[in-house]
Structures are given as C-alpha cells and as structure tokens.
Symmetry: C2
Subunit: 357 residues, 2 copies
C-alpha cells in the first residue's frame, strides 16, 4: 500500500460540502488502487480569520509543507468583503501561493460533450475546445514592489502596483508551458502586451530564446487584448496558452466561461518541489452554502489532477475522471449545469452516484 | 455655413481607402447640413516612420492641435513589427494620446440587428447588447514609471512596468463615465482588481466617493477576471463600464468581439479640451490593403461620433448613422461582415451606396 498525506483546506461557503464528497471518493478509490490517504484538515480564508484572526495561519502553511499534496476548496464570502487587506480571505490564498512557491497554475478548459449546450457560444464554435492555460502565479503585478498608496509631489494620493518579471521567473514558467504543450497538441501561444510593456518584451524574448530547445512545439505570440478576442471568436485555434499572473487571471476565466460549466473545472498550482495545490475554478458561492446545492465535480476533478501530477497515479486519476463522466452520462445534474427540463439533484446525491460509478 | 478644420490621419494598411470613403461621405453630408470641412492630411504610424523616421512627427501633433477634430484610420503592419520600440507605429499612437491628453476612450459595442448572426455567441445571448466601455487612456501601466529593463542585485535582468493612478486621474475619467451612464441606461459598472491591487482599491474608493453626486446612476463594482467572464456569459447585464487603461484595452476588445462584426465599430478618444480623435476599433489589416476589400463603415461611424461629440452636430451625426444602416438594410456587405450566401462588395461600392443613402 502506498501512503499519502493530504492536507484538506475546505475554506468557506460551499467548500466543506464539496470537500466531503471528494474525500469519500478518494477513500473508495484508494481501496481499489491500493492507496491509503491520511487526511489532515487545516484552516484558510474567512473561516481561518474567524478562528485565528489570520486568513492563513502559520500552522496551515506548515501542515501543507509536510504533506504530499493539498486539496483546496474555496475561500471568501460577503462577510469578509470589507475587512482590511491583510485580513482578507484572498490574502490567505496569495500567501499560500507564495508560501509554497506555486509558480505554475494549470487551468484546463474543456468542453464536455454532455454539456456542450451549456455554453453561451454557438455549439459549432465551442465543440471540441480543449485549452490549457499555464498561468504564472507567484510573480508579476500580484507581488511586485513598490506597491501601495503614495503621495505625489503635488500632494495628492497615487495608488501604485508594479508588474515585474525576472529572467528566472519567466524561464521556469515557460519551461512548464513548453513541456505541457509537448504532452498536448504541441502548440504554444504566449500572451503578453509587448507592443506597450517592457516587461512583456522581456517575456517574449525569453520565450523565443527557449523555443529552439523545444523544436517539436509550434510557438506563437499574441497580445492580450487580441487573445481575449480570439478566445471569444474562435477558441479552437488554441491548444496551450502561457502568460503572466494578471493576464492569466483574466484569460483563464474567459476560457473557463467558454465552456458554460465553470462548476466542472479543476485547476492545479505547482511549485518547483513540495506539494501542489488542487482546487476548483469556481468560488465559494456563499449564497448556496449549506443547502446541498453545490456541484462537487470540479473539486473531484481537482483531486484527479492531484493524483496525476503530485502523486503520480495516472490509473487512479483516469478512474476518477471516468466516474465523473459516468455520473454526467447518467443524467445527474446540479443546478449550475442543468439545462431546461433536466432533473436537478443535490451535492450529496452526486456524491452517492460517484461512489457507485 | 459652419466651418470645421479636420485633421485626417489615414495611417497604414487599409487606412487610406477607408478614410477616402469617409471624406466623401462627410462632404456630401456637409452640403446637406450647411457645414464645410477643411481637411488636412498628416502622417502617423508606419507611413510616418518611412517618410520621416518618426511614428509621430511633431508637425502631425501641431496640425492636430490646430484642428477642431481628428479622424484616425489605422496604424501598423508586419513591416514595422521588429523596429525598436521608440520607432514603432504603436509608439506614435501612444504619443498622440498623451500629446493631445486624450484621457477618455469611449468604445461602444452594439449588436446591429442586421448582423446579429455574425456573433460567435448564441443569438439570444447577444441580441440587444448595447455596451459603452469608458476606458482611461493616458494613465495606468501604459505610461507609469519606473519602466524598462533593470538588473537585479543578483545580476539578472528584470522587466518592469508600473500601474499607477492618481486621484485626479481617476476622478476625471469617473466623471466622464458617470455622465455617459446618465445619458444611457444609468447603470455604471466599475471594473478593477481591488482584491489584489492597491491602485485598484484607490480607484474603487474614488468611484464610490463620487457616486452620491450622481444619485440617478446605479453603481456596481466587478473584478476584471469576473467582468471578462460576465461579458461572455451574459453581456446584456452591462450598460456602461468604466475601467483603467489596461483592463479597458482587454474588456473593450471582448465587448467588440461579442458583436462578431468588429469591422463596424467606431471609437472616440476625448481630452479635457482640444480636439478628440475618432477611429475604428479594427486594425490596419495589411493583408487586404489596397485591394478594395476593406469595410469603411467603422471609419464612417467614427466620423458620426466626431460630429456628435466634437462638432456638436447631432442631426448630421444621426443622418450619417441612418445612412450606414440603410446600406446594411440594402444588403451591402464587405467580406468581414458577410454571412454564407451574401454577395460581397468592395470598399468603393459601399462608399457609393453610402453617398446614395
Ligand atoms: C481570489 C483572487 C485573488 C484570485 C486571483 O486573482 O488570482 C482568483 O481570481 C483566482 O484566479 O484564483
Ligand atoms: C495598438 C495598441 C498600443 C493599442 C492599445 O493597447 O491601446 C490598441 O490595442 C488599442 O486598443 O487601441
């Protein structure tokens, strides 16, 4: 039996519900694949603020560091929307990313045949879309200094943030992107704003400098405004996209929304070594928390990504993904992915169906 | 007779063709509305580089300053893609914006009933969409210092750009946005990334501080990643959007692409006083330049915006817009807006139909 220590960060809102379903699924899967999981639950986000005053207690970071992998559900809620920045749920998330050095965020956007009509785009435009956005996650304007409020010489307030990337930061994310593209359709589109920004010019130059080492990958460059447009116009032109933290935040959300079923999308955040963090793309949905209405499948698919990337158990990952597809094939739908006429079931019913599958 | 001095900046690619059609239309309109136009042509972009070495010769800026208004077509092309930054066509455009202090960029995205099927989104999602993006155009990360390539203490290269906004900069664009919303559906959505960026927090605070002075306008705030998603999911929820330079670059292009007919969209860039610059949203399309294939209607509609905003001739603006709609109603289509089965006509044929209308 292979043993794994997994930190669970259920967080806020619907987090605990979807995490519970995922844990049950992992246990069942473990029994089948001779894997045993030791689950340790830790605090993050709003619930951590309420319990400890901090959105990311040091103990949480320590627990994560001592794990093989981390499953995160979702953070935030109206309740903490107006607290000072240092105590916001988001600050805990950013602290987790930098604390574990999770510089590579992998965000797949795939149209599931069962849900192709869920998209706001025409079926023929989105059918078959399969995009992987590789987003840099610990640099850029999210973490650059100087930042804050300053007073100008004229005596007025000026808000400032700095978008900066070093060669090292660009090279390591580009490496992940090239290797990701190699495992996919071998098409890499690097997105920047090099016609205006010097930091983007360096980004573009580095990607170009690395391209010859990955001669099987076809590299293109696109400005971020055009990339956003092209995702809407013809998303099938994309295979793997690599971009910085801020542009990746925007583009990965557009790519996710193209599918029309954001409640189905997982993500992985990987570091150089140490555990990765696996979480759904959707938020904590405080409006439906505790009502057994949440869709747990993005969390479950995030666990599948964990099995694949952190635990190197591709067979178990495949089995989990296949089970999710079966649940969809059997017609089970939570409210977020239901079409007119579909019967809507709750989070627990999905969990039960998943265990059966 | 009212006299107007208009600077024409045909620029590169298809620019001269679409400008020629627009000038003919304005002349005809002038005869009907007792307006006389003095047109002065000046250099910008790639053609200015070729002629003078600079993408924005000082003489061009001077000519613009002495005009009542400026019509710009499009700049750029493969030919100048790899010249140093200071001599790029885009640098000329940025210089024009800062030189004329064009801090407010108005970018309407409207679905024309004649072209509703052109969108990649489902008809029911986009039908009736009518969005105005108010983008700050002379601040933010486009112009912030420090910027450039620096060497870190560890001796490696770091690219840096600075996103900064002062209270004055935010207040003046917010004022334009509130006033724009008042003339529309009175809904203003301010887009920022205040959960991460201090500059965005200041932006949000200022918009909130001004809101009581426009009590007839309903103000909401959205994070930029969510706004990009929501534009794709349900664009009809938006009326007027206000945002900074970089976010506005991205969001206005998404909004434009929702229409599926970017070849139809005009824009206005306005300063505190002095002339505004009116230009189509589309680019210089070097691949079809000089082939009589370009769609001149976005340029024509930009001239209509000029009549409305800079020259205060709403009746003439209405007449010009009505003529454009007639041309569409009569079935004239350039390649970019043609549906399967439509007969495709050239730029000049559209121009002739427009003069008739
Ligand atoms: C919550 C927020 C700080 C975060 C981000 O901007 O990175 C989120 O939008 C995401 O994409 O994970
Ligand atoms: C050409 C480029 C510099 C410009 C910008 O980024 O502002 C363009 O994308 C635009 O939106 O007008």
């Amino acid at each position: 039996t292979q043993n794994y220590r997994i930190t669970l960060l259920p967080g806020d809102g619907i987090g605990p519900e979807i995490m519970a379903v995922t844990v049950e699924a992992l246990k069942k899967l473990g029994a089948q694949f001779d894997l045993s999981f030791e689950f340790v639950t830790a605090l993050i986000g709003g619930s951590a603020i309420d319990a400890t005053g901090s959105p990311l207690p040091e103990a949480t970071l320590e627990t994560c560091r001592q794990s093989d992998s981390v499953l995160l559900a979702a953070i935030g809620g109206y309740k903490w929307d107006n607290v000072p920045r240092a105590q916001r749920p988001e600050t805990g998330l950013l602290g987790l990313r930098s604390g574990l050095q999770l510089f590579a965020n992998l965000r797949p956007a795939t149209i599931l045949p069962q849900l192709a009509d869920a998209s706001s785009l025409k079926r023929e435009v989105v059918e078959g879309v399969d995009i992987m956005v590789v987003r840099e996650l610990t640099g850029g304007i999210y973490f650059g200094a100087p930042k804050g409020l300053f007073t100008t010489e004229a005596g007025e307030q000026r808000g400032v943030n700095t978008m900066g990337y070093t060669v090292t930061e660009i090279d390591r994310i580009a490496k992940v992107a090239f290797e990701t593209a190699q495992k996919r359709q071998k098409k890499l589109c690097s997105v920047d704003k090099a016609n205006v920004l010097e930091v983007s010019q360096l980004w573009r130059d580095r990607v170009n400098a690395m391209a010859p080492s990955y001669s099987d990958v076809e590299v293109t460059h696109m400005y971020v405004d055009n990339a956003a447009m092209q995702l809407v116009r013809n998303p099938k032109q994309f295979d793997t996209i690599v971009t910085g933290n801020l542009f990746g935040d925007i583009l990965s959300d557009i790519a996710a929304m193209l599918t029309g079923s954001i409640g189905m999308l997982p993500s992985a955040s990987l570091g150089a070594d140490g555990p990765g963090v696996y979480e759904p793309v959707h938020g904590s949905a405080p409006d439906i928390a505790g009502q057994d209405k949440a869709n747990p499948l993005a969390q479950v698919l995030s666990a599948a990504m964990m099995l694949r990337y952190d635990l190197n158990q591709p067979a178990a990952a495949d089995a989990l993904e296949t089970a999710v597809m079966q649940v969809l094939d059997q017609g089970y739908r939570t409210g977020d992915i239901a079409a007119a006429g579909d019967q809507i079931v709750g989070c627990q019913a999905i969990g039960a169906a998943l265990l059966k599958a």
